[in-house]
Amino acid sequence: MENVLTKQKHRRGFRFYASIYRKILVQDLKSKMSYRADFIISTIGMIMTNLSGFVTFLILFKNFPSINGWDYHHMLFLYGFSLLALTPVQCFFDNNWNLRFQVQSGDFIKYCFRPINVFFYFMSEVFDVKGLGQFAFGAGTLIYAWVNIGIPVTPLLILKLMLFLLTASLFMIAIMNAAAATCFWIVGSGYVMVIMFRFKDFAKYPSSIFHGVFRILFTFVIPIAFVAYYPSLAILESDSVPVLTWCAPALGVLFFYLSYKFWMLGVRKYDFTGS
């Protein structure tokens, strides 16, 4: 490994970044474990958050046995799917929440002095363990719904699930990147982030319940409908998959790329005044 790296000087590819990320992650987890109280409290907090979300969902369904033709298990599927799709943004891109503080205090400049990608370097500093609990919760819900709806377990469907989960998570990551990057231009970017993060709650409902302006808004402007609804249709209605579902992977990559470019544009345009 050592020799391969030296030979490839100036060429830092995927393997290089993966190896650096892994090393930072291992060190970070080691130091997190040493703060045990912190670790336990955040784990409990995470379980409570997920449980309360789930209870709200159950109460809703006690009163309305179906929403716009979606029955209990289908809704549960969508719910689990959205939790899984929101895991990567929680685990790997959580440092977006700190961006505005670091930019305003001037500490952000340190990310610009290393010969590696600024976006990667910034995001690599935080790995949020809370996301792992969310992942477990989401996976449990999804499997339960999957079995109860009676969807067959075929390699093709599993592959589809992976692809569309990845797609869905790209949309949420893109939304949060773009929201965080507004801090390079405006002071009140915290509100933008909170609002965008709140929108994710709409992800667990079929977007067919929204009408008119909201449907267009959640599909094309702030693509929340892509965080669970459209991708999950690939599995739930594999006979009549809508066009937007098939477009989702490409759109996801595009949205992510645009949000990354927007984020990096902010870095380049920012003045870093004061010292």
Binding site: E2, K110, D271, S275
Partner: protein, 310 residues
């Protein structure tokens, strides 16, 4: 001598929105195109040779940090040319950062929760430092400072002095051609200051590293720099040997008088305008003088004179 840094007629302007007062004013600001331009750096031309330690001085807000941010590739100059190790920093930020090290103000660039040695290992991987070179560098560090007490300590638990020391060591780790040090001794005690000066000097001599040092502490300048560059209001106002600067002020003396209440009074006298004896005699009429000292003007006083516009 080969140059590490070349700057030609470099200018940097910032556009700042003219803000208006009150709620109505802020709404107007939303749509306003009413910008004013502030020139932070004006037409600076500079050449820095390999292996030099340069004192880059100037009062607060003179444009020092802006210049360094341009040299490190963080900011793009509005006009003019900059070459750092033959690279245009802003266009090739990544390539440029392979060959520079930066310690910026009071901000640690190390991983906050990691022991120093783990930060070193990550930096070794990020800069792709060959194993042998890395080990040699750690050996060199051992010979220059006592790094054992800090090597296994997480950065968050370090004292300010230890953290500064760690940041300087981290900046030299990949053996860069140039290291930028922005106020490395600010807030440190006397013994830590001298430790850090010795370290910088030692690394410069061993590795031939060019060092750009900005500081307000003239002790740093006296200990480390032969040449100084002074910038004020964005313009370069002095660029030469420090001794040469002092000779400008050859007729200046610092007169120190111990008064009857044992306090020392200090003043700078230009001998071409005032007679030292006369000043003493005048003072003698008001106070009893117990002791006097006459010194050559210090670097501190020279710089103060320049900032004040002498």
């Amino acid at each position: 001598m080969e140059n590490a840094i070349v700057m030609k007629n470099v200018c940097k302007d910032f556009k700042i929105l003219n803000r208006h007062e009150g709620l109505r004013g802020s709404i107007r600001d939303l749509f306003s195109r009413d910008y004013k331009t502030i020139s932070a750096v004006k037409d600076v031309t500079l050449e820095i040779g390999k292996g030099e330690i340069i004192g880059y001085l100037g009062p607060n807000g003179a444009g020092k940090s802006t210049t360094i941010k341009m040299m490190t590739g963080v900011l793009e100059p509005t006009s003019g040319e900059i070459l750092v190790n033959g690279v245009v920093p802003y266009k090739e930020r990544t390539k440029n950062s392979e060959h520079i090290g930066v310690v910026f103000g009071q901000r640690s660039q190390l991983w906050w929760s990691l022991p120093l040695i783990e930060s070193f290992r990550l930096l070794r991987d990020i800069y792709m430092v060959p194993k042998k070179e890395y080990e040699d560098m750690i050996e060199l560090y051992r010979s220059l400072v006592d790094i054992e007490p800090i090597l296994h300590k997480p950065v968050r638990q370090m004292s300010l002095g230890q953290r500064t020391l760690s940041d300087i060591l981290a900046a030299f780790l990949h053996n860069p051609a140039i290291v930028f040090l922005d106020e490395p001794t600010i807030g440190l005690d006397v013994s830590m200051k001298s430790k850090i000066r010795d370290l910088i000097k030692g690394l410069n001599q061993e590795k031939g590293t060019t060092v750009i040092l900005t500081t307000h502490d003239m002790g740093d300048v006296d200990a480390l720099c032969k040449r100084i560059v002074i910038i004020d209001e964005g313009k370069k106002i002095y660029d030469n040997d420090i001794e040469h600067l002092k000779s400008y002020f050859g007729s200046y003396r610092t007169l120190r008088m111990r008064l009857s209440d044992d306090t020392w009074e200090e003043r700078v006298i230009d001998e071409s305008k005032e007679d030292v004896m006369e000043v003493i005699l005048r003072k003698q009429k008001e106070h009893k003088i117990k002791d006097i000292q006459l010194q050559e003007i210090s670097t501190e006083e020279v710089i103060k004179k320049i900032y004040e516009g002498a």
